[in-house]
Subunit: 361 residues, 2 copies
């Protein structure tokens, strides 16, 4: 994906943006630290009140025995899979063809852990119970990503997860949750994180998606599992002397936004409907099941960029900073609803979509 | 090493401490960020002004083509060795028996990178040219740690490094510098970081030792090398969306303390002499060659703890928060001189060592 500088520029100059929680600037850190006592002691190599208290809070939230804070999900998830592979003595796992591990991590799982992967299910779909049942090779662990981000954030129905979980337990396959956006799907399922967590042997969550923190992740599971994950965290170079910049901000924004997930979800449904009211536009999913969806527009990239720039300058509302070309005459972009959507005046929002309806005709 | 709670407590209550740059508390972050504009944009996955400008500054400082910021030295150094091993197709490296990689990283190099290691030289000594010349097996890379931290911070004479460097170049062995304390040795050698850096193919430096930042490291070398290191950084889970909490503090404390290294070095010589004036005490090295040294005291651990506690409460000066037992009747601890030493009133300092002289008789 090559960036279009003038679209980025036009987007940056908008007063309102439909997605996200705001700019990723130093203010994000400063706001989280404004209330923190200067004398509070740092965590030291995984120990200390700051890190231990937050780990405990997240373990409870996820209904797990124990939790470990990691600098990144990439690190946390590779480690989870490695532990389950070593446990079984089988260096093979299965996940969706568009899993983060498959397409965004430079093959760390293979290059560092020598773990083989089986890609389960269709790219455009979800992993189904039958896919798991039809596995011909033995695997140590199955990774499910909820929601499946790269296809717009689709979700299986809850009973499918329950059945996959039961099947895996029966077959001695560990089930790991890529819950980078777990908070964001709770309103759809009307389940607690602990209820969903109970279906998995290990759970990873992230603090800079819906939560809007700086970075950082939690890996949760049984005590023996998390104890091993600390050893691997050190091996990966993730056992930093001080992780508190991420922990304090994760904790702060968790408290600030965790109760807003229902609102983001409802806003996403409304916003997707607005997009779907325009010619040539389809969202995936058609009706979002979390705060996220993908917008597909059947227009050539360069022509649409010109249209969007004009709309941004005219209305002061930014819809996206980029367009990803899906084929010669079609593009897409991702929307994750956060705090910003609700700050847009309703008449401005109506204006931008009326304009879009006219321009895309 | 088991912590003695009452010694830790007595140490915490002292007004002055002889070593370090002060408490590792939130103030360290806040001071670095107080002057930073709230609107400044975050780095994003290794890109952006904040990270690129600092990498360039450090590349120039180290006299290298290019530099990459890492969350930790553990990650940076394993990656450096992996790159050199892959280049040569030989998965073997050599380093000192007390290298950080050998004793503090849970064997990450072996468990993640499947790299074999040859331990070169005696535990209590340094790697000499002859050790390298006598290597019987082919290695891809030799790692030198300057100063050799675990033996109190010893240094080879400069010509030894030059000769090892020449020999390695001749034999096609890559030379990597573990420069966790590189800043701290420049006054002894009276060389610039770039002069020392020119003897090595790759250099790692750290920002939370003498510099006193939060965490973080730089890995520097040729462009092709650092480019590859970015791919490995992602694989390790170190390519965080935002690393700026570490970068901004590293930059801030680098500017604040880089010119003080000569002072720390001179202070360390003075302080070591004070310790050596006491019965039963010997520092290693006897005369420091950087800001650090180890203090060895021929006393049983528990008895000495009681003595130290008494001295701390009486004088308000803390010498160490821990004692490491080296044998039944001897202990040691590490001293790294920083800003704090010079804030101690001279008469208080005299008092504490006079007291120590009396008590250790």
């Amino acid at each position: 994906m090559t960036e279009n500088i003038s679209l980025v520029e036009a987007f940056k100059q908008t007063k309102y943006q439909i997605a996200g929680n705001g700019k990723r600037d130093i203010q994000v850190l400063k706001e989280a630290f404004d209330q923190v006592d200067r004398q509070q002691e740092s965590d030291i190599y995984g120990n200390g009140k700051i890190i231990e208290a937050f780990q405990e809070k997240m373990a409870t939230y996820l209904g797990k025995e124990s939790a470990v804070f990691f600098p990144s999900g990439t690190m946390a998830q590779q480690i989870a899979l490695r532990i389950w592979c070593d446990e079984k003595g089988v260096k093979k796992v299965a996940y969706h063809p568009l899993s983060h591990l498959e397409i965004h991590e430079e093959d760390g799982l293979k290059e560092l852990h020598y773990i083989e992967t089986i890609l389960l299910g269709e790219e455009a779909g979800l992993i189904e119970l039958e896919d798991v049942q039809n596995l011909e090779e033995e695997i140590a662990c199955l990774l499910l990503e909820l929601p499946q981000r790269e296809i717009g954030g689709k979700l299986p129905d809850y009973q499918t997860i329950v059945k996959i979980s039961e099947y895996c337990k029966e077959k001695g396959i560990r089930l790991h949750l890529d819950g980078a956006r777990l908070f964001e799907i709770l309103p759809y399922y009307q389940k607690s994180a602990a209820e969903i967590g109970s279906l998995f042997d290990s759970v990873y969550i992230s603090f800079y998606k819906g939560i809007g923190g700086l970075a950082g992740a939690i890996l949760a599971g049984g005590k023996e599992f998390t104890q091993q994950s600390k050893v691997w965290k050190r091996r990966h170079g993730g056992d930093l002397i001080s992780l508190y910049p991420y922990i304090i901000s994760a904790d702060y924004y968790f408290d600030k936004r965790i109760s807003k997930m229902e609102q983001y979800y409802e806003d996403a449904i409304e916003l997707a409907a607005l997009f779907n009211s325009c010619p040539s536009i389809q969202t995936k999913p058609a009706v979002p099941v979390s705060n996220m969806f993908h917008v597909h527009i059947a227009w050539p990239k360069e022509q649409l960029e010109a249209v969007l720039e004009e709309i941004y300058y005219k209305t002061g509302i930014g819809l996206t900073s980029y367009l990803r070309q899906t084929n010669q005459s079609s593009v897409s972009f991702e929307v994750s609803v956060g705090d910003q959507y609700n700050s847009i005046p309703r008449d401005k929002l109506r204006e931008v979509f009326q304009l879009l309806q006219v321009k895309l005709k």
